[in-house]
Amino acid sequence: MSTRDLFTFGNRHFRIGVGIVLGMLIVTAIAGFVVLPFAQPWVQFANVWDAICSAAGVPQRAASVTAPEQTKRLSEVVLTSHTLARPNQEAIGRGATLAQRCAICHGPTGVSRADSPNLAGQYAAVIYKELHDFRSGARSNAVMSPFAVNLTEEEIADISNYYAYLPRLPAYHPTPQLPKPNIVIYGAPMRGIAPCGACHGSLDNKTGSPWLEGQSEAYLKAQLQALASGERRNDISQQMRNIARAMTPQEVEAAAAYYASQPPDVVKAVD
């Protein structure tokens, strides 16, 4: 028999090979797409086609179910690692003018003496996101919210670019530098807590996560507590809330004290 006759039904091997494969495929498809979907008593299908679509993973929109109404607003900011990645000088200049109104709490050089966050040299994407959240109401603060509520998209971008442009000055929290506590460097694997340093510097940075070195201890602690209690909820997919809830009060203390004691110039150079 020549190679030409290989793909003909006259060839026994062709018949057997294709027949077995096809048979297997049909049997497994019937089992996977029809029999097994109906074998799940907790799922109701209108008809066989419905079951097949479900098993095939066809995206379905359940028309009858309405999304539960959100009592509080969630963050709607979408960040990528390219957000505000290339600011121009003009934007920074405009931001400097706009930022004069921020100086009363965040300091004229972006370093706060009022337990507000230090913004000098903070990542632009971080400030951008927080301002958006304050504006939309996803995050609220009696002092901060009124400032943010009237900002335009461009103003938010300009302010973010301006603060990101400022040099990271040593903060006004002169405490001796503490060694890295376990929660910062190892997290708590058994409670599903990733190390703080995996996103907030020390080890690595993730888009949208601020560096924390030299920030006010009282501020850091208050934010962790607010995230744990659910009072603050503008973290995407509850990333920080899940962590803060699982942290012990001692870990909150340790993390806040550690970061407050670090000079910001140790922020890992990643740019």
Binding site: M1, S2, T3, D5, L6, F7, N11, H13, F14, G17, V18, V21, M24, L25, T28, A29, A31, G32, F33, L36, P37, I52, S54, A55, A56, G57, V58, P59, V78, L79, T80, S81, H82, Y123, A125, K180, I185, Y186, A188, P189, M190, P195, A198, L203, D204, N205, K206, T207, V270, D271
Partner: protein, 540 residues
């Protein structure tokens, strides 16, 4: 008739050199996250090392062994000088270049994404380009294997293709097609993002592409091992292959069903429909068939050797086997590890059972036992068997070879059995450290400590292997004679065209890929709205 010995030796030496480095990294990784090591203060170093270990062991080492062995088979089984030697060297240098290109960003900490790529995590562009070069280099080998077989066929129309070459070409076709999945993932998904052309990625689709490669790549790693089972072991222990047809059917079955089963790696992924997961699960069960056929055929072949040596009785013949022959020893160890690893694999492929061990250390234990154990120990055996023919020098220290094989076997069992155990207890894989001070996992500390000891036994054995081969380069010269493969009890004079060619089976392989992967891929690729922002390694 081994003419291009330098080419084959170059493949083997580069393979074993990078294997030595990756093995050392592996042992270090085990130590550093065990109760006897101190916690790494920087987990990134662990993932860096893990990426290097996986990339070398998954892509570079087995590919080079399969290629080197493939060239040796082509020349000696077909008794024909390799056609396209220049291309073969090009392929080799592409792999060397690709490996270096991939390893530099890893070493700099710019590509700690693990060898499974892990989108939306995105590393340095050169890491991915390096991997692409490795794959392109290996595709040259695939083409050369097909061309050499074609040239031989023209000169020997209608003659049965020697089993070793038939299997070798089946393995190369399997690799060519299965590598397409990762290639699509890299070219369509990851590289545009790594190059900065896009900043979102469909991680779910990328994972499906990778599953296309991820499972059949194991069978590509396995091919040299199975070729050694069928065509080297019986000859080396003085027996014959029980059935040439059974061997061909096994390789054909691998070709057809190794490919459309990768989604059993995505059982926990929400982007794939349950129906497709079931089909993949069922076809994965089928892939046990060629392995069972092989175990039967090889046991029968070995029994033939034992009876020829005067073995008697129902099981008495086992004692008559040449147990001091390294090839016999390697085969036995390989089978034991294949048995345990295969049994574990049946659990992984079961939709329900998988849930209990998904992403635990069990999985790490499983693939180390199968690949590092059953497969790699036969790579050692292949190297030992080929070495005198490649170097023209004798491997004198058989006792050292036996010790090396014993240590590898013991080391692999001691490493992987505790891994399986702690996996059942729930220990996750891919973690840089564990807090063994925590009462919840303190009882696992002992098992993990044992596995570290196993890791260092493996390292010792690996070093011995390289030393044995290096010493073999300086041993007294001998004439090893032509390199031969095992003959069958009934050496075929004619073979049905379906068992002598690959076309039908390659067609079935591609058809099953379309049926089993077509819809899930199209669904995600055309559906839209499933991309997420990329997370760049080391970037803010």
């Amino acid at each position: 008739m081994l003419v291009n010995r330098k080419l084959i030796l170059a493949h083997f030496w580069f393979a074993f050199a990078v294997f030595g480095v990756a093995l050392t990294l592996g042992a270090w990784q085990m130590f550093i996250r065990s109760p006897i090591g101190t916690w790494l203060s920087n987990p990134e170093l662990y993932y860096r090392s893990l990426t290097a270990h996986g990339t070398v062991m998954g892509y570079v080492f087995p590919t080079l062994v399969a290629m080197g062995f493939g060239y040796a088979i082509s020349e000696s089984a077909l008794e024909q000088r390799l056609v396209g030697v220049r291309w073969a060297w090009t392929g080799f240098w592409l792999i060397v270049l690709g490996s270096i290109m991939a390893v530099i960003p890893i070493a700099l900490g710019r590509a700690s994404v693990l060898y499974t790529f892990y989108p939306p995590l995105i590393g340095n562009l050169f890491y991915y380009l390096g991997v692409v070069l490795v794959v392109v280099g290996s595709w040259i080998w695939v083409a050369l294997m097909a061309i050499n077989l074609r040239v031989w066929r023209k000169a020997h129309p209608d003659a049965p293709v020697p089993l070793a070459m038939f299997a070798n070409v089946a393995g190369s076709y399997l690799w060519a097609w299965t590598a397409v999945g990762a290639a699509l993932e890299l070219l369509l998904q990851i590289i545009p993002v790594a190059a900065g052309l896009k900043n979102t990625i469909d991680a779910g689709l990328a994972r499906i592409f990778f599953s296309w490669t991820l499972h059949a790549i194991v069978y590509f790693w396995l091919m040299p091992t199975y070729i050694a089972y069928y065509t080297i072991v019986p000859r080396a222990i003085g027996g014959r292959v029980y059935s040439d047809s059974m061997a061909r059917i096994s390789f054909i079955l691998f070709l057809v069903v190794a490919m459309p089963i990768g989604m059993h790696h995505t059982f926990a992924d929400p982007q794939v429909g349950a129906g497709f997961k079931f089909i993949h699960s069922a076809f994965t069960a089928l892939v046990a068939l060629p392995t069972l056929l092989t175990v039967f055929t090889i046991c029968a072949s070995v029994e033939i050797a034992a009876r020829l040596r005067g073995g008697r009785g129902l099981f008495g013949w086992i004692r008559a086997l040449p147990w001091d022959n390294p090839m016999m020893l390697a085969l036995a160890f390989s089978f034991v590890m294949l048995g345990f690893g295969g049994a574990g694999g049946l659990i992984n492929m079961s939709y329900q059972l998988d849930a209990s061990i998904h992403n635990t250390q069990w999985i790490t234990g499983h693939f180390h036992l199968i690949f590092g154990g059953a497969i790699v120990i036969m790579y050692f055996a292949i190297a030992y068997d080929l070495w005198p023919h490649l170097t023209g020098r004798e491997l004198v220290d058989v006792r050292l070879i036996r010790t090396q094989l014993w240590l590898w076997f013991i080391g692999m069992i001691v490493t992987t059995f505790p891994w399986h155990w702690v996996g059942i207890l729930g220990m996750p894989r891919r973690m840089a450290y564990f807090d063994f001070g925590d009462p919840a996992i303190a009882p696992q500390a002992l098992s993990v400590t044992f596995s570290v000891i196993g890791g260092f036994i493996l390292l010792t054995s690996g070093i011995m292997f390289i030393v044995i081969l290096a010493r073999g380069m300086r041993a007294p010269q001998v004439d090893a004679g032509p390199y031969r493969f095992a003959l069958a009890v009934h050496q075929p004079t004619t073979v049905p065209v379906a068992l002598n060619t690959h076309a039908l089976w390659v067609a079935l392989m591609i058809a099953l890929t379309l049926t089993n992967y077509g819809y899930p891929i199209l669904n995600l690729a055309l559906g839209g709205g499933t991309s997420v922002p990329a997370v760049y390694v080391g970037a803010q």
